[in-house]
Structure formats: structure tokens, C-alpha cells
Symmetry: C2
Subunit: 339 residues, 2 copies
């Protein structure tokens, strides 16, 4: 592959929230697409999606969908990825999958371009996994600090937007908000109860009462950083925000670091915007401001007051973009450049 070439790109799950964001991202970043194939389930086939200034018709996903495809960007859930990922790879596509299906497979690299792009070169199954949204933005912010002082322990609490649960969840939030404002009864479809003007720590815990999302933050952080000694204490929480995840991150290191050093390291870090202007309203990270943009914003960088040499940070990013679609497209971009 050379940079002058154009590529056939398939988006699997094109009608979903992340799938649509993938189409937008490919177009906005001028990814060299010779032909775009928008794939989805039978139910969504025939739907017309906007793509740049034109439109694209969704076709049904099937075993023949990947002939001639160079990059297959999957965002269709774990079971579809498990079934069709290997089919796409066998047909010769590089699969970049946004589901959790392949992330912890030792033969599948789990890649955040700013952190461990080299890992993407070794992909015996032809599949590259795109990490969980909450993990991506955290490791982009922490990698430069880990390189400098080696992270020992992370305590992270998330403030996650409803868009991470798809279109229907956002609509649930907005309809509920209107009901609350109008004094009408609140109905819940996606969420187990009232999400508008409310906060819910993960309501479906898994092993040891940690949620799946929490376990992802533990295991994926270690795999991406390439350091299984990193301790992660996660609490994942949904907040009534449309789009954009925020994280409160406490970090302890093997070697002490200061907030000043951390700011210096983050000021020019790949993918990071240092937004640490405490007295300037609007100039620090919020999800509403981050939504629709590419960077990981890091602010409120403070020397910890209890543990010497530790830090507290506030990390915000668009969970559909850097947390999903953008990260997948960036992996493809960098593969093209390196080839």
C-alpha cells in the first residue's frame, strides 16, 4: 500500500451511532477512499446515509461483502465481529473492530495510535481491535506520563455520555428531560430508570461486582500500555450528557512527578490538548465543548495532596470520535503511511 493509492473501505454497522461517525470521519479527514461499502443487518439494508456531499445506500452484510475490501471498519457489536471479522480478514481486508469481541485475544493487537501503533504491525488474525472509549481517552492522556515516570496505580471515576449506548439512549435521555421539564411521567426504554437529571453508576455489574466497562478499563489499559503491573481501580458512571466522556483520574507513579512536569509533558503530547486554565471559564475541558472534536483534553492537573509525587487529572474527549470512530480511522491512516 502506498499513500498515493486509494482504498476500498467497508463500514460494518454503518447505521449505528459509531458507524455514522465513521462515515463522517472518513470524509472529514479525506481518507483516500476509492469505494465505500456501507454494511448493516438485513433490517437496515436499503437505508440511505449521508456521506460527504452525497449519499450511500446500505447493503446487507453477508459472507461475500468483503471481496476487494482493503479496510473493514466494524462497529456492529461483538457477535457480528466474531462471525464476520475472520471472514473479512480471510478475504484480504485489514479488520479494525470496535467491539469487545477480539480485544483481549493475545493474537489481536489492541491499538491506540498515539500509544502503541507499533503493535498494529503484528496481526496474525488480520484483525486489529479498537479499545473501549473510556480506556482510549485515558491512555492517550497517561502515556507520556507513564513513559516518564512509570505508572503504578490509577483510580478512575468516569462521567460517561449516553451516546455511548447508541442513538436510542440519547433519545431516551432527551425525551425524559422534556417529560421532567413538563412535569409529565418519565418513561425509560434503554435505561433501567430515569437518566435525565440523574446519575447512574453501572447497573449491571459482572465479576466481583465490577461492571464489564470497569473490567475493560482494567485489562485494556494494561494491554495497550504493555505493562501488566499497572493497577487500575475503576468506577464507571453514566451522566445525563448527550456526547463526550469525562474522567476524574488519580495516578500514582514509581517515580514521583509534579504537576508542572506533567503539564510540560502533555503540552506537546500526540492527540492531547492541554486545557488547564483554571481561572478562565470555558477554557477547561467539558464534554459539551469536546463533542464533535478530535483531541483528548486534559485539565485540572494537580499535585496530589495526600500522596507525594502523585497527580490528579480531568480528562475529556468525544467518545464517538476519539473513543471509537476516529481511533479506528487513525489506525488505518497510520497503516497507510507506514506501508
Amino acid at each position: 500500500m502506498s499513500h498515493d493509492q486509494s482504498f476500498v473501505v467497508a463500514v460494518v454497522g454503518a447505521t449505528g451511532a459509531v458507524g455514522r461517525e465513521m462515515l463522517r470521519t472518513l470524509e472529514q479527514r479525506n481518507f483516500p477512499v476509492s469505494r465505500l461499502v456501507a454494511l448493516a443487518s438485513k433490517r437496515s439494508a436499503g437505508q440511505v446515509l449521508p456521506y460527504g456531499k452525497s449519499e450511500i445506500v446500505v447493503t446487507e452484510l453477508g459472507p461475500q461483502s468483503f471481496e476487494g475490501v482493503h479496510f473493514a471498519l466494524f462497529s456492529a457489536g461483538a457477535s457480528v465481529a466474531r462471525e464476520y471479522g475472520p471472514i473479512a480478514a480471510k478475504a484480504g481486508a485489514i479488520v479494525i473492530d470496535n467491539s469487545s469481541a477480539w480485544r483481549m485475544d493475545p493474537e489481536v493487537p489492541l491499538v491506540v495510535p498515539e500509544v502503541n501503533m507499533a503493535a498494529a504491525q503484528h496481526r496474525p488474525k488480520g484483525i486489529i481491535a479498537n479499545p473501549n472509549c473510556s480506556t482510549i481517552q485515558m491512555v492517550v492522556a497517561l502515556k507520556p506520563l507513564h513513559d516518564a515516570k512509570r505508572i503504578k496505580h490509577i483510580v478512575v471515576s468516569t462521567y460517561q455520555a449516553t451516546s455511548g449506548k447508541g442513538h436510542a439512549a440519547v433519545e431516551d435521555l432527551l425525551a425524559q428531560a422534556r417529560a421532567v421539564l413538563d412535569g409529565k411521567p418519565v418513561e425509560a426504554t434503554v435505561f433501567p430508570g430515569q437518566m435525565a437529571f440523574n446519575v447512574m453508576s453501572d447497573w449491571k455489574p459482572g465479576d466481583a461486582d465490577y461492571s464489564e466497562e470497569e473490567w475493560k478499563m482494567v485489562h485494556e489499559t494494561r494491554k495497550i500500555m504493555g505493562d501488566d503491573s499497572i493497577g487500575v481501580s475503576p468506577t464507571t458512571v453514566r451522566v445525563p450528557v448527550v456526547n463526550g466522556h469525562s474522567e476524574s483520574v488519580h495516578v500514582q507513579f514509581h517515580e514521583p512527578i509534579t504537576a508542572e512536569e506533567a503539564k510540560r509533558l502533555l503540552r506537546n503530547a500526540d492527540g492531547v490538548v492541554l486545557a488547564d486554565e483554571p481561572y478562565t471559564p470555558g477554557k477547561h475541558p467539558t464534554p459539551a465543548a469536546a463533542s464533535g472534536t478530535d483531541p483528548v483534553y486534559v485539565g485540572r492537573i494537580r499535585d496530589d495532596v495526600a500522596v507525594k509525587g502523585a497527580l490528579n487529572l480531568w480528562v475529556v474527549a468525544d467518545n464517538l470520535r476519539k473513543g471509537a470512530a476516529l481511533n479506528a480511522v487513525q489506525i488505518a491512516e497510520r497503516l497507510i503511511k507506514k506501508a
Copy 2:
């Protein structure tokens, strides 16, 4: 004072969000009030407030307001408390102040009845301070664990409701939410920007880039627990919730503890409702459900996965009630019972 007695109670700042909650709390808990004096600034004097099934007329706060008053519950900000607290105490009232004015004064006890009621007996200035809302709910949840295993380090991230910033902040949130839903421009009056469908980590940091709220959690926790060795790493964050604060709390102890032990200790703890039913939607703590109720709800109690013997918890309470008005009234109730 004996329990059969009735008392003259003054509420200073009666027209504010916490002042109104104090009136409601006194009435709902049948506090033995012989006469209620609702005090506020000149601007609010003459206003009529609901009190039980009747009403009460607000009078202007002045140096003569406290004659014959047994309990003066202040919720009128720090400068009013600094000026009128000593005047009320000199007139013979027991002052219970909800502002930050007196909290760290070594001659003023800082009291959460479930935690350190004994401290209220020594009040050389005649003043008792009511702690910050975020601190109160955290120490109620942590005291039984501290007694058992001695806390070493707390990492806390808050999810604070807008009601903590008063009526106008709630109205700001609701008006902004309607504007967003209607696709109209968002105007901010109390908040520095869009609060609806958004999250803001504290935007006015103080010393060392920590906010005032964060420093309160550090210093007040130590004073209430009576242990200056407790490390607190706080990050305080405002979320688009009307009422009810939530907290993600990671705790390390001098002696290891398990989640099972912690649940046993919290099941019968004073002021706590253990709400740790992970698979039952609606039966774990949320601010919308906690709003309008008295307890501190504790859920998601998990053995930490990074530090052996540490815990993670999710703590939710009504910030206007247990976080302010209720705590103040409970102090008065227990003083009556002990007298």
C-alpha cells in the same frame, strides 16, 4: 433543656434553598418549636414562607433578632455568619451554622451527629458548625469503616447537583435544558457556561489549583473524624442533576478490609441505608431517588482490584437535607435529648 420543653428556633437565611429545607425539616420531624423566627436580609423581609400547614412571615435580620432564641440555625453565607453568629450566641442561642465561616475554627466543633456528636458538647463560642454537604455524606458512610480498620487514604470524585448552588442555579439548569431541547441558544447566569447536558469540574480553583470545595473535603474530613493523618485526594464536579450528590469513593485502610465486612458494618450503621443490589434496577443509589429523603445511601461496595484490602464505594444523599438542613436539625435534636 428537657425533652418535654419547647424551643424558640430562628432560621437565618430562611428564604434560601437550605433555609426553606430547614423549615420543612423542623416541621416534618416534629421538632418541638414553641416559636419560629424566620430571618433574612432586608430585601426578603415581609416574604411569606410555607411552614407546615400554615405560613410564616420573614423578618429582617438585626442585632435584636435573637432575644429568647434557643437555637439559631444559620444558612445565610459566611459573612452573615461571621457577623451575626457571635451576636446570636451572646444572646444565649446555640448557633448551628451551615456556612464555611466557622468550620475550621479550633474553638468551634464541626459536627455530623452520626460521627462525632460528642464534639458538640464543647462549644466555647456558642457556635457549632455544620460541615460541607459533600463531606457530610462521605463521613457518614466511612465512619464505621474507619472505626474498624482506620482509614489511610481516600480518593473521592463527586457528582454534585445544582441545588447546592441555590435556587437560581437549578433554574439556570432547567432553563438551559429547555433551550437545548428546543434548539435555542443557551444562556448562563449562575454557571460560567452550559450546565445542561454537560459536566463541569470545579471552575474556580483555589490554592494549588484545588477548589474551595476540594479543600473543604480534605480539612473537614480530618476534623470530623478527629484524625489528621487521613489523606484525602478530592476532585469535585458539578453534574446536570437538580438535587442529590453522588460520590465515587476509593478507600485504603491501615488494616485490610473486605467488601463483605464493609457491608456487614454498613448494614446497621447510623444514618446509612445499604443499597447494594447490583442486579436489581432501581435498587441502588441514584440522586433522583435519594432526593427528598434523609439517609446516606451506600452501594457498589467492591473489593479493590489493584490494592488488596482497599474498597470502592458509591455514596449518594440529598445534599440539601443530610448535606445541610437535616444535619443541622439533627444536631439540635440530639442536644435536646442529651440535655
